[in-house]
Amino acid sequence: MQLLRADLQVWRQTVMTTVIDLWYWSGIQAGIMGYIMPALGLAPGYGVFIVAGLVIGAGFFSVFRMVAHLMRDIDRKHEIFYHMTLPIPSWLVLIKKAAFIAFNSAFLVVCVLPMGKVLLWYQFDLTKVSVMATLAMIVSSSIFYAFYILWLAGIVKNSSKMGIVWTRFNFPLWFLGCFQFSWQVLHKVCPVLAYINLANPVTYLMEGIRAALLGQDGFLNVWLCVLALLVFSLLCGLDGMRRLKRKLDYV
């Protein structure tokens, strides 16, 4: 609890900058997709479709930054090594890290939702939002992001190899994971790729949040998505801890 509080104190100093950056990033995309892209042939509701993806993508937005921070810490043998010397199980230090990242992700996700409504106003019908399903998606996505970040920190050799996090993990998962299209459309266009894409956790992030915010019709079942994300979290968590155990050489 004390370690988590210490993390949150540092977090408070930078969170406003992160939120402003996030608003730039998501606001511009929502505006273009909502007001310009329909003139190129996309459905008028495409802006809202993208906003739903941006809401859940807010957590993804901080993945690179979080992994970079963690890698810098590991490379320079700073904070995390000090925490490992405390009289608590070493895995608890990593769980604390994951809890902090999950909190940060949930916070960012919640920040994008009202911005999407303000930007798209009449296009974004709040009566379609299922509060329970949205909460479940926010919680499960935040848990997933936390363990995905730990896993990436276990995979990447050192800070100088950080570039691969974006180009070889985040971007392909994000762009192939139904950010700009739904799984049903992909299934119609290329069924094989659609089935392969079921092994991509971002597919469940995107489909789940769209079903929760825009209604279930046309998307994968939201509760199936929540379940899938928890399974991916478990896998990333277990493998991430195994890798970090070897990397940090703790017992």
């Binding site: 511009i28 995309q29 007001y35 192939l176 266009v189």
Partner: protein, 263 residues
């Protein structure tokens, strides 16, 4: 006089060659990363998004934007490297004590980034052809215009990188460079739509967007690769980019002169 120019040119060339030794070591990784990015984006836009209502040739339209963006994606890491150097190793100080004008060192740095952008931008064209095959009609390419616009775009990226590095206080603020400068310019500058479409929908915004250099980058490369119809004139775009390069170049040299305290 001519002797000193030839000496300057030799130093310039040697420094540039030294930069390329480091570049060569990372070249394979850069190309793989570029291929992943271009391949996925072009395939999704070319084969999946038309099922969402976009025109059948939208993949090619987007590919032209990717050719122009190949160099843009080097801007962020390059700014990071430059500012880290200003804060840490200060390798640039060694170059600034060489017996050549200090501005030449800045021009050398911008030239290296420009050449980098040319290599990456040109690499996107065969990658795009491989992914989109029949959709990408190579006969529509105007080679002279393509060469001219790629050079103009790359020179702009070179000086833009220098300018961003001159404005960024420290590496801690690097994240904001992407979110508040590069991304808005890129995304609002017509990466996913043409200026004409924007002009039909929001004429005022379209005219405001004429002060965004990315507008000329996107329109120029599309005019050169896909045919002039529907885009701003390629030569006008090349001229505008030369103007932006000059402004960014002069301002960055002035700012870096103050920051690095050289004469």
């Amino acid at each position: 006089m001519s002797l000193s120019y030839s000496f300057y040119f030799n130093v310039f060339r040697q420094l540039l060659a030294a930069e390329f030794i480091v570049f060569k070591a990372n070249f394979k990784d850069k190309i793989i990363d570029l291929f992943i990015w271009v391949g996925i984006t072009a395939a999704i836009m070319g084969y999946v998004m038309p099922a969402f209502g976009l025109a059948a040739d939208y993949g090619v339209f987007q590919l032209a934007g990717l050719v122009a963006s190949g160099g843009l994606f080097e801007v962020f890491p390059s700014v990071m490297n430059l500012v880290s150097d200003f804060e840490g190793d200060k390798q640039i100080d060694y170059q600034l004590i060489l017996p050549v004008p200090s501005w030449l060192i800045m021009v050398k740095t911008a030239t290296f980034y420009a050449l980098n952008a040319i290599i990456l931008g040109v690499s996107v064209i065969p990658m795009g052809k491989l992914v989109l095959w029949y959709q990408f009609d190579l006969t529509k390419i105007n080679i002279i215009q393509t060469i001219a616009i790629i050079i103009a775009i790359s020179i702009f990226y070179g000086f833009f990188t220098l300018w961003l590095a001159s404005r960024l206080e420290n590496t801690l603020k690097i994240g904001s460079v992407w979110c508040r400068v590069i991304f808005p310019l890129w995304f609002l500058g017509g990466f996913q739509f043409s200026w004409m479409v924007l002009h039909k929908l929001f004429p005022t915004f379209a005219y405001v967007n004429l002060i965004n250099p990315m507008t000329y980058i996107m329109e120029g490369i599309r005019g050169a690769l896909l045919g002039q119809e529907g885009y701003l004139n390629v030569w006008l775009c090349a001229l505008a980019l030369a103007g932006f390069s000059l402004v960014f170049g002069l301002d960055s040299i002035r700012r870096l002169k103050k920051r690095l305290d050289y004469v």
